[in-house]
Amino acid sequence: MNDISLHILDVSENSIQAGAKNLEIFIVEDTKKDILTLEIFDDGKGMDEEILKKVESPFETSRTTRKVGLGIPFLKEAAESCGGTMVISSAKGKGTKVKATFKYSHIDRKPLGDIAETLVALILRAEKTEILYLHKKNGKEFIFRTRELKRQLGVQNLKKVNLLNSLKEIIKHKISEIQ
């Protein structure tokens, strides 16, 4: 994966696949503390301890098509290779929480990448999942909620090409404003 936004897409896809009604993505960029924190929460079906252990080591997946699940190990590697950490915790029937930290100024830290593209891809994927995105940088913040946007627009779903393309531009712009 070239950037953090692709890891977010990958890990969040698991949440949607796990039937999450709510997916929450938090990014905090704190350049003073020199830390970038990424948290992804979902209220999907969760995992028991046995599956959880396997997920952290790259040779297991509950899928039948392929025996290797790589999303979580990839994120872990990305975090650890730049002086960060990744922890995943989960409870069966409750949901899953993934938290990764990255040393902000580390030469090997991947760039954030294009968050707007990732959010649009997730909206396309999410049949019944509402997404909350909160991004803070040094005291400034940007928040986006699909539930609120649907209500404001008076629509049932956001899966319309023109809508998604204009939303993408707006989110890109908003995120650039907090940078």
Partner: protein
Amino acid sequence: MAKITIADLEKIREESRRTLVLREGAGRAKITVHMGTCGIAAGARDIMSAVLKEVEERELSDIIVTNSGCAGLCSKEPMITVELVNFPAPVKYIEMTPGKIKQIFDSHIMKEQIVKEYALAIGSEMTH
């Protein structure tokens, strides 16, 4: 706090008026972009953007765009699956690039002619 403002909403509404519905109702064609870990690492997100761009530029209102998990053939990612209503067998295309997406629209979507060069196999869809 930055958020979607009234002005932004207006802009989105404006765009939505010429809205192309992606998922509701019956589409003439359905395009699935495979987005498992391997697909994403190989560029599947850019492929999805390219598909959305083609749909918007050609003002197609009868195309369903969606994404799904791994297609089970990681070395050939990014992959898409194209299904036409009049042509029920899905076609999987391998090693996609935005340029190839354009060709697939020109030929498969617009003229119902499969782009054989990039097609993997005509057979059943395998999503999970």
